[in-house]
Point group: D2
Chain length 476, copies 4
């Protein structure tokens, strides 16, 4: 059961040939298109590094039967597995500078369903858990990348699903027979769908009994009939289409898609929830707990890269010493995120299914920090970078026969640093603060909104026990 | 002496035909090129609104001789003029959503030199002030836009100008005769140069006597021989080349350039400083005081637009009430900036030249706030916008025959709001947080770095008088 | 009509002999009691400095009839008067390091009623304004200190006044005849009441018609029958009872009281509102606008003192240079508050009554900043002060024959600074961060809660005009 | 080897009869004096809860030989021991609302020396580790409380120890013979010394060879000849002398002392370092790592209490629902601190001596957060508490026959909550934001200054590896 190489992964995605659109055009081959190619490189790097002994500890795991599988399709069986989940996220962000969301979301969805199907079966005598077990084994065996999908289109946020004029704004089962179900709807902001073999769909919210058509979890290959994706080439994404260094991060990219399910048939063996509304909240919660924890690792890793890029610029400008306190503050912020994620993992617990999840309160706390601290990191990076971050020549200016020498003359840095070196570092900073995949995009909405995390903290805060502490000290 | 109409302005810039490059290519006609065209619209809007009676108070002024001139080439003669400087900045940012830097920088440079030439003449018996007075009259009479240029290339920041291996990294006089001087160097991050008739150049730092070749102030048309510009089409700038709404701000843009002076002759009558190193710091200081103050108005205006865009999204999503406290926080942040700028203006003072300048300490304080608060505004806007800000379909997807109807179905908002409306509002937010001219670019480095402002606060803090207050209360 | 000297002021308060309690005991003579004495010194300093030509500009005003009166009982008749209101507040805080609230609140109440009585009379044909005019003339002529009272006891915050089981939790008129009215209730957190001759009472909230008994404004001497005060000697207030330097601020103190109106008769000529519920909100609003603005000046002034004390400690520890950036940050924070207050004043407007008020939005913005920034100032002061702020010997230790020499030996600072000097500076810092009258107490609740100010910003934000700006740019 | 009961502990401290002064007077019996009594209650509570099976996991440990000892004198032998160190700190702060510093500092000192003596012996063939081992066994066997002492008087901070005019400002060995050494100097800010049996002294900084007289570590009973303490009864400490609820925290207190060593003889067997300047930095570092980590637990625990007190006030005021988001933010802040501490512990490592220490970078990161977040907690608590926190009646007012009923009438809360209940809760808040042992005092300087932690982050940041990440992505 060998792990795929990066090349095998890319080839398998090419062959999959899922239907995708970008800026109004059909994308013929996502492994060739300039933008999507870069996003695939990001995911592909997981495959590449998993083959490297140096990273095997974090990126691969040994299954109970002894098989070596990718960590990205494993189930967390211990506290240390959870911590390693965080570490793997940080590592991959350090190595790619981007969000490799698809494998992450699929990983978290697999774990959330592992637990939830176990609970459902125990209560209702269903057989979801066994189906999922077989599905997981297949994914592990073929070393597939699964996207994870939660967020529905939602229509008017002020109406409950059952009051929506168009029911499809929450994905739902529109037909069912002995062989399977047919689903309709759309899931938005699906990270890395373009580079995924499969998509694991979960309910995106709690639903009442009247809304149980929306309570459906399943997995399906992305090239299934009726599925189409609309990829967003975010502002600045155009640079990814070019060769050269104007894109800042020269090696890797990321992507997010709207995935439309236009009446898609899902065979029974791939259905993991179907109407058990009592468990909709549970499966969402377990997914987001993992994701809210792990973002602390992701943002720490991206923070590391941005700190490194800022440190390079400081060095090239001859200001390393003067800016050392700001670079230390960037380090503080990244490590604060990381330590919160590790703390959340450490305080985690196992469930009857065998799967482990982080401490609910601390995972939500990590997410709140994740929605705040990266803006501080970005602010300091822009401060260190100076005005250059927002006004600098392009690689094409540097190559132009007339103006190239002038650029070289006026953009040279300290100690003989060439203009190109300075520009490369500055463009990496620029891409991380304002390009596609910038920190702000990554940190604010991953794992749900900060408001949702704050709501969770409110509910988990256990104010009564704290009031009791106060009463005891004040003799009330 | 009539004010130019927007059309006359654009035509005059077309005729000027200054030499400009962008992404390695010569720009044939800046009024036609998709990117530069938009930037010109921003400046052009000043011309348009100056003709509108509603805004005449702020955008025009009456000269001593009774002539009605554009405020943008006037000298501040009172406290109220300074406050109106701030208000005009806020108004134009509200109307355009972008920085219209060129007219602003030229305006501030004119005022800084008005004072400084007066001081120099008084000490050295030179005639700079009279030259400047004539130059200002010409600019006012022809209603020209002047860019303002301070920032040098700087080479290694850790070396003083006199120790730089290449002296040209600070612009300098390389030759001089009876008729004028020849200058060489480059000024970077020149806002709106592409839409300016003239450029007013000042020293960018304090210089010692040994460095007096660098102490030179002058004005020159941007089509003068030896001047060339390199425009940065920032990440996301590609959208500005397209028609339609993907660019977010559909009407206006901004630009920044590197302006290279490759041995440019400046006639004597246009030279306003030449070697008076004792005044290099003074002219820089006066410029930045105005600019640091006025940024409070600019960012308040851009903050207003971003608040409005976020409020639209909240409305379209059916969440206006739930998000009202966040929208109020955005308002707080913008108004905090504005009130600091107005406070700086109110505490300003006149100089012997008749020109007024803001309170030095408060202007620097405003700048520090400007480098911090807009990141909070941006953070809340992204929070309100939701994940959509970083993943949404393009206008071309919406127009595509196959996927267009799906986009319409799944992106429709509350109360029958069309997908296009929601997308337009979301793309405006996206362009202001991550597009060219985003808040972060505008606020961090305008008027010099936050570190420079902090240094100024340190020097102006008058700790001795505060220690005395403490000693008095503690009886020390 | 001469201004009172400090001695005359103190003597007049002694003679007034208002009924006051502190820690369960009747205070015989507030000019002698160690704690209240210090608070009177704070207010008295206004009298002292008003006699000083150096401060006459700020602390005195010329009335229309040419009489020189204390600014603290004047009506603001111009923009500059408003700015001077802020400056006076900053000055007095710089000079005393404490809140001299009574004269401030009375001053603001006088102005709020000046406007509101004018409005009421115009609508209802009443004669409140003329009564107030006479009252003001009397106060000015006798140079009295008036406390200002708004905050009611409130009972359960979740019930409206008309639903309160005990109606008296909002002060109200319980009887009325031709000669006057009888009031019952309590006003809490009345700054400086102990040092005031008179108290001016206003409604503390908006009231409906059914609640109009609560809508009453009047003035009454504090020694009137039925009035009693309960003074809070805050934690640390005990030090004020001692002589010597352990109290930190050796010269001045402040105080707040609960003022109980236990069926107090108010003669008709001293009643300024009585049942006009339509104007309850107006008079509250006008009061708080002035107060929310002016707190920017107060906290800037206290911030200056704390910055000075921290700078002294830095100097005594030989760390002035290393801590210069933190001291600059403290300066930034104080000046940010001040500039916002000045901005609020500058954008103010006159009313038909002739009285001027600050811009409503900006005044509330200032208050929000006032509830946040001083905590940053305090944090830096504690950082600079070091652990000593929370653990240092007392003056009595220093005077003890056995341990005194050891204290001197181990607490001596740099450059021969004596232990006493260091301790005095450290104790001043300690008193301002944790003593009675500490910054946190002053900034959070003065002028109403931050939540109230945020609510006001929400209402004044004019989101519709901002949405229109966004729609214009996005072509919606 | 039984654990002491609380009563046994108090009796043992009474018998010890260490020499202590407070406010210039000798304290006859620290178990009787109102202020010190309360501090002893805090430490005593550790003894009380250690006897409680519910807390045995955290507060006691099993030694290798099977003996059950107090955790507070144990050596951390695993990752889980480190995490439990954090949990114990949080628990005790939740239970007492105060810092029980002495046992904590002694605990950390014991661990720091355990490692360092092991290192020194390995290099120099000394026998310190064995001495320490015997000392630890004695402390464990008799269940003693040891204070930990690092901070020297320091004189002028800008001079190195060797340049100080008075060498004693850094504690030093002034004499030595076969039996032991004689030390002179003073250690400041020694938490809980008043309630300790022993004091463990370490060097407080790195020292050069020329300064090796200052490099000395030892333990000594606090009643040894030549030792005297000066306790600081912080502002507000006077309330601790009274019975009743004005002190807020009715049950517990804390204390800090200056401990003077006026030529104290230390027998050889109690000396753990003597001149090994190569290890001065090491022992300091190991101590502060533990302390910087653990403060995350302490402040989380105190934050819990303050959150509970604020929640009580919200409830009593009838505003629980309206303030739920602020209470959630308080919870967020406390848990953010806790998770960082746990993260630091989880990433810790063992040393050759067998003792475990937290991750150096993360422990310092925790400390930086500890110096910032509690100010936010305090700010929200004051916001929730309302103006009452700074102005409320005393218990004596409530008991006064005349004014008591008025207090009861006007301070009653929602739903029949008595005035006393509201006042008790409010006074608990007041004592935690401004009384002795307030959060600000606890968080800023414990474990050394924030500046020291920032310096450590700078050194540990490993910018080179981050630059390498950036270079890899930008192809530099």
């Amino acid at each position: 059961m060998p792990l795929k190489s990066k090349e095998q992964y890319l080839e398998s995605i090419r062959k999959l040939n899922a239907e995708a659109y970008m800026r109004g055009k059909h994308v013929e081959d996502v492994t060739k298109n300039g933008f999507t190619r870069m996003a695939l490189q990001g995911i592909g790097e997981i495959y590449a590094l998993s083959k490297d002994e140096k990273y095997a500890d974090l990126l691969t795991r040994k299954r109970e039967d002894g098989a070596k599988i990718s960590a990205y399709c494993s189930i967390h069986k211990s506290r240390e597995d959870l911590v390693n989940r965080v570490r793997a996220a940080r590592l991959m962000c350090q190595k790619t500078g981007v969000c490799t969301a698809s494998r992450c979301c699929g990983w978290d969805a697999l774990n959330a369903l592992w637990h939830t199907t176990h609970e459902i079966d125990a209560r209702f005598g269903t057989e979801y858990h066994e189906r999922l077990r077989q599905y997981a084994a297949m994914v592990q065996g073929r070393d597939l990348t699964c996207a994870g999908a939660l967020t529905d289109a939602k229509g008017s946020r002020s109406l409950k699903p059952k009051h929506q004029p168009d029911k499809d704004v929450y994905l739902r089962v529109i037909d069912e027979n002995k062989k399977g179900i047919v689903v309709r709807g759309a899931k938005s902001m699906i990270g890395g769908a373009i580079g995924s073999h499969e998509i694991i769909v979960q309910p995106g919210a709690a639903f009442s009994e009247a809304e149980k058509d929306h309570v459906v979890a399943f997995a399906v290959p992305l090239n299934a009939e009726g599925i189409l994706q609309v990829v967003d080439m975010q502002a600045g994404g155009e640079r990814k289409l070019e060769s050269g260094f104007d894109k800042g991060n020269v090696s890797f990219g990321s992507s997010e898609s709207l995935v439309v399910f236009d009446d898609v048939f899902i065979p029974k063996g791939r259905v993991f929830m179907n109407g058990e509304h009592e468990y909709a909240a549970e499966v969402v919660t377990k997914f987001v707990l993992l994701h809210r924890m792990v973002l602390g690792g992701c943002l720490a890793g991206c923070g590391d890269v941005l700190t490194g890029a800022a440190a390079l610029l400081a060095e090239y400008n001859g200001l390393s010493r003067q800016l050392s306190d700001r670079l230390a503050e960037m380090t503080y912020l990244s490590e604060a995120l990381y330590s919160q994620a590790v703390g959340s993992a450490h305080e985690g617990n196992g469930t009857p299914s065998g799967a482990w999840f982080p401490d609910p309160l601390l995972a939500n706390v990590t997410k709140i920090s994740v929605s705040r601290l990266p803006y501080e990191i970005q602010k300091i990076a822009e401060d260190i970078g100076g005005g250059m971050i927002s006004c600098m020549p392009s690689q094409f200016d540097l190559r132009n026969r007339k103006i190239g020498p002038l650029i070289e003359k006026y953009y040279r840095g300290s100690y003989g640093v060439t203009a190109e070196k300075r520009l490369r570092a500055a463009k990496l900073v620029a891409s991380m603060v304002a390009g596609p995949g910038r920190l702000g995009a990554l940190c604010m909405h991953g794992g749900g909104s900060p408001a949702a995390a704050q709501m969770a903290v409110r509910e988990l805060a256990d104010l009564e026990s704290k009031k009791e502490m106060a009463r005891r000290l004040a003799h009330i």
